[in-house]
C-alpha cells in the first residue's frame, strides 16, 4: 500500500506528523488524492466517524420546503435548490461530505499522476440504471463529461475545468467593442480517455488538485445518455429515487427505488419538495403547522421564532460563505486611499452582530476565510473613523464622498449588512445611497454595477477564490481588478502543495488586498436551516446540499 501512495500524501503525512498540517487538512488532501476515507482517517489517527442517532427506521415521507425550479436540464442548473431535486435520482461521481472530505461515490477509487495532470477514475462495478438494469459504464461517464464541458451546453462546470482539460480559443467573431470573442474546448482529443469499461482518465494540460471536488459541483450529475440531457418525470437514473411528479413552482415528488440501488437504497418511502415562495414567514408557518418537515435555508429574521417552537430544531454549520462590498476602479474609488477609507470605516464585529445575529466570524477584508487551509492571520482591522477621514482628505475629498451601492433584498441579512455598513460609513463622510435590486435583476448586472454587494459561495480553498475572483481576466472577476504581481503570486501559491509555503505567499496576497484591494468583507457566515426533530440521519451541508436517502423518521 505504502509504495502506491501518491508522493504528495507522503509529503502531507510528514507535514501532518510535524504538526504543520492539521488533521482535517491532511484528511482532505489524502482523500482527494485517492486514499479511501476510512484508511485516511486511520492514517490521521482519527476514529472513523460513525453514523450516530440510532438505528434507521424504514418508511415514511420527508417533505422539504424549498423553491421548485424547472428540473429539465441538470447540467445547466444555476440553483442548488434544483440540484437538490435531481440529486435524489441521479448521482455524482464523487461526494464531498459535511466534513469537507471528498469520498468516492459512483467512482470507487481515483489516482492522480505525480504531476497532478492526469487523473484516473475507477468506477464501481455494481451500479445499474433503474429503468433497464443496464450496467453503468465508462461510456456513460465520458458522454456526461463531454456534454457538460461543451460550451454549447451552457454548464457552469466549464469554469472549474478551464485550464485543466479545457482551453480558451478565439472564435473569430468580435463583440460590439471589437474585442475578439473567446470560447472553450477540450485541449486535446484524448483529454477524456476511456481506458476500459470501468476506467476513465482525464488528461490535463496543467496540474489541478481540486478535480474530485470539481466532480461534485452541483450540476455535474451523471445522466443516462439515452435521455439526451433531459430530466423529467420517470427519467432513468442510478440514484435511490424516481421522480414521479413535477409541478414547477408548486411541488415535486420522489419515490424510493424498490431494489438494485448500489448504496442500499433509501430509508424513507418518498421525498417531497413543496414550493413555499420567497416569503420566509410562509416557510416558518408551514413548519409550525407541520406541512413541511424541513426547509432549505433559514433566514436571519425567522431564527428567534424557531427557537421557541418545541418540535423544531436549528442546524448550523461553519462556512466560507460571505458577501463582499466591492467597487470598480472609477471615481472616487479609483484612488486606493478611498478604498482603504471604506475598509477603515467598517466595523465588521458590529455588522456580524446586527445583520447576522453573531452567527459566524467577523471578516478581515481579504477574501480568504479562517476555514481555508492556507489562511494566514494578518490581523483584524478595527474600525478607525479618524484614519478613514484622514485618508479621504489625503485623496482630495475633504468634504467626504457620495456613492450608490446596489444590493439584493434577499436573503434578508444582505440588506441588513448593507444598511449597517452604510450607517458606519456615514460617520467617516462616505455617504452611500442603497439601491435594492431584485435578485434576478442583480445577477444580470452583478459585474457591471460600479459598487455592489455580492454573495460568494463556500469554496474549499483560498487559492480557488482568489483565482476566480481577483486574477486579471478571472472568470468571475467582478471588480475588473488587475495587478500583475498579485496574479504571479496566486500562480506561485497554487504551485505549492505544502500548506506552509502556500500560507506564506497567502499572507503577502492578503496584505495586497488590504492595501489596494477592491473589497470590504464584513463577515464569514454560519449557514443554518430548520428541521422537525423527528427527522434523523440528516446533517446540514456547508453548501446546503440535501441527500434524502440517508434520512429516516423517528416517529
Amino acid at each position: 500500500m505504502a509504495d502506491k501512495l501518491h508522493p504528495i500524501i507522503k509529503l502531507a503525512g510528514r507535514e501532518f506528523a510535524d504538526g504543520k498540517l492539521d488533521r482535517r487538512d491532511f484528511l482532505r488532501v489524502a482523500t482527494l488524492l485517492g486514499v479511501a476515507a476510512p484508511i485516511a482517517f486511520g492514517m490521521a489517527g482519527l476514529p472513523i466517524p460513525a453514523r450516530a442517532q440510532g438505528t434507521p427506521k424504514k418508511g415514511g415521507i420527508v417533505r422539504l420546503g424549498s423553491r421548485v425550479h424547472d428540473l429539465k436540464s441538470p447540467h445547466t442548473y444555476s440553483w442548488v435548490e434544483a440540484a437538490n431535486g435531481a440529486r435524489q435520482c441521479l448521482d455524482y461521481l464523487t461526494y464531498t461530505g459535511v466534513d469537507n472530505v471528498t469520498r468516492p461515490n459512483l467512482v470507487e477509487k481515483w489516482e492522480a499522476s505525480p504531476d497532478l495532470k492526469s487523473w484516473t477514475l475507477r468506477l464501481r462495478r455494481d451500479v445499474t440504471w433503474r429503468k433497464d438494469n443496464r450496467k453503468f459504464t465508462a461510456d456513460d461517464v465520458a458522454w456526461n463529461l463531454k456534454r457538460m464541458l461543451d460550451a454549447k451546453t451552457g454548464s457552469s462546470v466549464v469554469g472549474l475545468f478551464k485550464g485543466f482539460i479545457l482551453e480558451e480559443f478565439e472564435t473569430g467573431e468580435k463583440d460590439d467593442k471589437g474585442v475578439a470573442k473567446k470560447s472553450t474546448r477540450l485541449w486535446d482529443a484524448n483529454a477524456i480517455q476511456k481506458v476500459d469499461d470501468f476506467t476513465i482518465r482525464l488528461n490535463g494540460k496543467t496540474a489541478n488538485l481540486g478535480i474530485p471536488e470539481a466532480l461534485f459541483h452541483y450540476p455535474a450529475l451523471i445522466m443516462d445518455p439515452l435521455e439526451n440531457g433531459e430530466f423529467k418525470v420517470g427519467s432513468n437514473g442510478t440514484g435511490a429515487f424516481e421522480m414521479v411528479e413535477l409541478d414547477v413552482g408548486k411541488r415535486a415528488k420522489f419515490v424510493a427505488r424498490k431494489s438494485g440501488h448500489w448504496g442500499g437504497g433509501a430509508n424513507i418511502d418518498a421525498f417531497e419538495i413543496i414550493d413555499l415562495g420567497d416569503d420566509s414567514a410562509a416557510q416558518v408557518t408551514a413548519l409550525v403547522s407541520k406541512q413541511v418537515d424541513m426547509i432549505y435555508q433559514g433566514a436571519i429574521g425567522t431564527y428567534a421564532t424557531i427557537e421557541r417552537i418545541p418540535h423544531l430544531q436549528i442546524n448550523i454549520v461553519d462556512t466560507a460563505y460571505t458577501a463582499v462590498a466591492r467597487v470598480h476602479s472609477i471615481k472616487p474609488f479609483d484612488d486606493k486611499r478611498v478604498r482603504q477609507a471604506l475598509r477603515h470605516a467598517t466595523d465588521p464585529d458590529a455588522v456580524l452582530k446586527l445583520a447576522h445575529r453573531g452567527l459566524g466570524k467577523p471578516g478581515e477584508h481579504h477574501h480568504v476565510a479562517p476555514t481555508h487551509p492556507e489562511y494566514a492571520n494578518v490581523g483584524y482591522m478595527k474600525q478607525d473613523i479618524a484614519k478613514a477621514k484622514a485618508l479621504l482628505v489625503e485623496a482630495g475629498y475633504p468634504g467626504g464622498i457620495d456613492a450608490e451601492i446596489v444590493c439584493r433584498p434577499q436573503p434578508d441579512w444582505e440588506l441588513l449588512a448593507v444598511q449597517t455598513m452604510v450607517e458606519q460609513w456615514k460617520e467617516a463622510g462616505i455617504r452611500v445611497k442603497i439601491n435594492v435590486m431584485p435578485s434576478a435583476q442583480y445577477w444580470s448586472n452583478w459585474t457591471k454595477v460600479p459598487f455592489g454587494f455580492t454573495t460568494w459561495a463556500h469554496r474549499p480553498l483560498g487559492t480557488m477564490v482568489l483565482s476566480l475572483a481577483y486574477r486579471t481576466g478571472g472568470a468571475w472577476n467582478e471588480a475588473n481588478w488587475s495587478n500583475a504581481e498579485f496574479d504571479k503570486m496566486i500562480t506561485e501559491a497554487e504551485g505549492y502543495l505544502e500548506v506552509d509555503k502556500r500560507r506564506a505567499v497567502m499572507a503577502k496576497l492578503e496584505r495586497i488586498m488590504l492595501d489596494e484591494g477592491p473589497i470590504v468583507v464584513p463577515l464569514w457566515r454560519q449557514v443554518f436551516n430548520y428541521t422537525d426533530k423527528k427527522i434523523k440521519g440528516y446533517k446540514l451541508h456547508p453548501s446546503s446540499y440535501i441527500e434524502a436517502k440517508d434520512m429516516w423518521i423517528d416517529a
Binding site: K250, I274, Q291, Q441, W446, A475
Partner: protein
C-alpha cells in the same frame, strides 16, 4: 344595447393589441439578461452568448414582436422560460387557482358587506352603525400582509387549528378546505372593510330620501321599507364598486398569495416579471386587461338593468 356591446368588444380588441405591444416594448427596458438568468451567474460569457442566439434574442424588437403576435393569433402563446412549459398550461392552472380563491372571497365578501353595510346604514348613528363603522375602518386600514400575520399568529402559532400555508396539496396533512380559511378571511376582512363603508354611506343617503319618509309615515313596517324601497336603490352606486373588486380579486391577490404560499396568478405574474419571462408576462397581462374590460362592460350593462333612467 347590441351596438354598444359590439363597440365595446372592438374597443377591447384594440386595447389588447396596444397593451401587448407596450408590454413587449417595456419588457425590453428591464435590465435583465434572460440568457444569463437561465444559465446562472457562474456560466461564462460565451455560453451566455450562444444561448442568446439560440433563443433568437439577437433579432430586432419588431421582428420578435411580429413573430409573437402571429403565433398568439393562431392560439400559440409560446413557452414559459421560467416554468419550461407551454404558457397556456401554466397560466390556466394558476389562473384557475386564483379564480377559485377569488370566487370564494367574492361569494363571502358581497353578502357579508351588504348585510353589515345595510344594517349600519338603515339607522344612522345607532349603536350598530357605530360598531360596524369602527370595525370596517379598522379592517380596511390594516394592510393585507399585517392582517395575514396577525391571523397566522392567532390561529396557526397560538391555537394550531389551521394550516400556516396553502400550497393546495394534502401531503401536509391538512385538508384542502382548511387551507382556504385564512386567505379568504384576510381578503374578506381587508376588502370587506372598504365595501361595508361604501354600502353604508349609500344606504344612509337613500334613507334620507323623501320617499322613504313617506313610506314610513304611511305606516309601512320598517322591515318592508328597507327591503322593498331602500335596498335596491342603495345598492346601485356600490354595484360598480363591487364589480371592480373582481379586478382586484383576480390580479391584486399577490400579497395574500405570497404570505400563504398560494400558487396563484398574482405570484406567477410577479415571478414572471422578475425573471423577464416575456411569454408569460404577455399572456398574463392580456388576461388581466381582458378581465378588467369585461367587468367594465358587465358593470355598464348591470347599471342599465338596475337603473331604468340610464340608456345608451
Amino acid at each position: 344595447m347590441l351596438r354598444y356591446t359590439a363597440k365595446q368588444l372592438l374597443n377591447i380588441a384594440v386595447t389588447l393589441l396596444a397593451v401587448s405591444f407596450l408590454v413587449f416594448a417595456l419588457n425590453e427596458l428591464t435590465p435583465i439578461d434572460v440568457a444569463r438568468k437561465l444559465l446562472g451567474p457562474y456560466a461564462t460569457q460565451d455560453q451566455v452568448d450562444i444561448l442568446y442566439k439560440q433563443m433568437g434574442l439577437d433579432r430586432s424588437l419588431l421582428a420578435r414582436y411580429w413573430e409573437y403576435l402571429a403565433n398568439a393569433l393562431s392560439g400559440n402563446f409560446g413557452e414559459s422560460n421560467l416554468y419550461r412549459r407551454p404558457v397556456a398550461e401554466i397560466l390556466w392552472d394558476r389562473l384557475g387557482n386564483t379564480l377559485v380563491l377569488a370566487g370564494i372571497c367574492f361569494a363571502v365578501i358581497v353578502p357579508f358587506s351588504a348585510l353589515l353595510g345595510v344594517l349600519a346604514g338603515m339607522r344612522e348613528r345607532s349603536f350598530v352603525d357605530r360598531a360596524v363603522s369602527v370595525f370596517a375602518s379598522v379592517c380596511a386600514s390594516i394592510p393585507e400582509f399585517a392582517l395575514g400575520v396577525f391571523l397566522l399568529a392567532i390561529f396557526v402559532v397560538g391555537l394550531g387549528i389551521l394550516p400556516g400555508t396553502s400550497p393546495l396539496s394534502t401531503s401536509g396533512g391538512w385538508p384542502i378546505w382548511s387551507q382556504f380559511v385564512l386567505p379568504v378571511a384576510v381578503v374578506t376582512l381587508y376588502d370587506g372593510g372598504y365595501l361595508i363603508s361604501m354600502i353604508r354611506s349609500s344606504m344612509v343617503e337613500v334613507m334620507r330620501q323623501p320617499y322613504i319618509r313617506t313610506a314610513t309615515l304611511k305606516g309601512m313596517p320598517f322591515r318592508n321599507v328597507v327591503v322593498k324601497h331602500a335596498l335596491r336603490n342603495a345598492l346601485i352606486t356600490p354595484f360598480t364598486v363591487i364589480l371592480l373588486q373582481l379586478n382586484y380579486l383576480v390580479s391584486g391577490l399577490v400579497v395574500v398569495e405570497m404570505v400563504f404560499a398560494y400558487p396563484g396568478f398574482g405570484r406567477m405574474m410577479l415571478e414572471a416579471a422578475l425573471n423577464k419571462d416575456i411569454a408569460l408576462v404577455e399572456a398574463g397581462a392580456l388576461c388581466a386587461v381582458s378581465v378588467t374590460m369585461l367587468t367594465q362592460i358587465l358593470g355598464d350593462l348591470g347599471y342599465m338593468a338596475l337603473d331604468p333612467r340610464i340608456r345608451v
